[in-house]
Amino acid sequence: MWTWFYKLASPPYVYGVAAALMPWLLGGAALAIAYGLTAGLALAPPDYQQGDAFRMIYVHVPGAILSLTVYMVMAAASAVALIWRIKVGHAVAAASAPIGASFALMALVTGSLWGRPMWGTYWAWDPRLTSELILLFIYVGVMSLRSAFEDPARGDRAAALLAVVGVVNVPIVHFSVVWWNSLHQGATIVKLGAPSMPGSMLWPLLSMWLGFMLFYGAVLCTRVQAEVLNRERQAAWVREAIKS
C-alpha cells in the first residue's frame, strides 16, 4: 500500500524530477518577478500615507511570508524523514534551511530599511520584525546543529528534531512578542501592507509572492539534487545521473 509513497520518495526519482522541474520553476519565477517589479515600482500609484516608500513591501512582505513557508516545508520534511526514516526528507530539509534563512535575513533588512522613513529608526522592536529575528536565530541553530555532527546521518536527524521542536515554538514566540509589544507601546505603528489595497497595488504584490514561491522551488530543486547526491554516493543510479 505504501510502495507508491516510497517510490515517490526514492532518491533517483526525486533527483530526476528536481532536475526536470528546475528550469520551468526558474522561468516562471523570472516572469512573475519581472511583472511584479514593473507593476510595483512603476505602474502602481504611490500610497497616500507612505508615498513611494510603500513600494518596499513588494520585497519585504513576500520575503517574510517565504521565510515562514520555507520553515513549514522544512519542518514537514523533517517530520516525514524522522517518522518514516526517509532520507529524501532530510535532503529537502537540509536544502530548505539556508534558503529560508536568507529570506528571513531579506525580510529583516528590507523591513528595517522601510522602518527608517516610517518610524524614524532602523529598528523599533516591532513584533513582526522581532519574531522574524528569532526565526532567523532558529534557522541558524538548525543549520549549525546539522553541520556540527561528524556523522551526516546523525546530524540530519538531530537537525530534523530541532526543526520540529521549532515549529511548535515559532507561533508561541510570535504570540509572546506581540503580547510584549502591546505592553510597551500603543498600536501607533503603521501596519505593513494595509488590509484593503486597491488592485493596482495588490496584483504586483501577489505576483511577487508567486515569483518568490517559484524561485524557492527552483533553488530547492537544485539544492535537493546536491543533497541527494551527497547522501547516496555509492548507489548505482548516481553514475547515470551525473553523466548527463
Partner: protein
C-alpha cells in the same frame, strides 16, 4: 531466515558510520551454553557489532532477534535479560564502588546491599566497596564493572574487551566467571583481540575490514 527461538540471532546487519561502511552483512547466532568470541584487527567494527547487539545502535539494514523476536519491539524484556560491559568501565568517579553498583543494578532488579557486596567479593574488590571509584586502579575498576555484570543476574553477557587492565589473577578470575556463566546455561558474546583459554565450547567470529 533462521529464527533462533532460544537465543540470540543477528541477521545481515549493515552499519555505516558516516562515510564508512563498518559492518557489511554480519550474521551470527548464539544459543544458551555458547560463548562467541569476536575478534579482528582494530577498526573492523567489533565494538560497533556489540553496540548493535545491545540495541544501542540501530543497524541500517538487518535485524537482531532475541527469543525469535526483534529487540526493538521487545526492548524491555531483552534489556532485563542483558548485561553489557562497555570498553570503559562506566563508573561514576564520585560515587563509591557499592553506590555505582546500586544505582546501575538497582534499575534492573531489586537487590540488597549484601548481594552487591557478594558480587564485589567474587571479583575480589570487596575491600574497595566504600571507596570512591576515582581512587581505584584501572584493574580494580574493571573488576567492579565485572561485579556489576554478575549482580545483574542476566542470561546474556555482552563484554567489550573485558580482559583489558586485568592482571594474571584477574584474567583467570574472569575466565572462571565466564565458564560458570556458560555452564549455568547463559550465553556470552566477548570481544577480545587475544585468544580466550576456556574449557567450554568457544565459537569464533573473525571480522575483517
Amino acid at each position: 531466515m533462521n529464527t533462533i527461538v532460544d537465543g540470540l540471532g543477528v541477521e545481515g546487519v549493515h552499519v555505516w558510520l558516516g562515510e564508512r561502511h563498518v559492518l557489511k552483512g554480519v550474521s551470527l547466532t548464539l544459543r544458551p551454553r555458547e560463548l562467541l568470541h569476536v575478534s579482528g584487527p582494530n577498526g573492523t567494527g567489533k565494538t560497533t557489532l556489540l553496540r548493535v547487539v545491545c540495541g544501542l545502535l540501530r543497524p541500517e539494514q538487518g535485524s537482531v532477534n532475541w527469543l525469535g523476536r526483534s529487540i526493538t519491539t521487545y526492548r524491555t524484556e531483552y534489556q532485563a535479560a542483558l548485561a553489557y560491559a562497555s570498553h570503559e568501565p562506566a563508573l561514576k568517579s564520585d560515587l563509591t564502588a557499592l553506590e555505582n553498583l546500586r544505582f546501575a543494578v538497582g534499575l534492573k532488579r531489586r537487590i540488597t546491599a549484601d548481594e552487591l557486596l557478594a558480587a564485589l567479593n567474587r571479583t575480589g574488590v570487596g575491600a574497595c566497596a566504600d571507596l570512591p571509584a576515582r581512587v581505584l586502579s584501572a584493574g580494580q575498576r574493571r573488576r567492579v564493572a565485572m561485579a556489576r555484570v554478575l549482580a545483574m543476574n542476566a542470561s546474556v553477557w555482552l563484554l567489550d574487551e573485558p580482559y583489558t587492565n586485568l592482571d594474571a589473577s584477574g584474567a583467570d578470575l574472569l575466565s572462571g566467571l565466564l565458564q560458570a556463566h556458560i555452564e549455568a546455561g547463559g550465553l556470552a558474546l566477548v570481544v577480545a583481540h587475544h585468544e580466550l583459554k576456556l574449557p567450554c565450547n568457544i565459537r569464533r567470529l573473525e571480522l575483517n575490514s
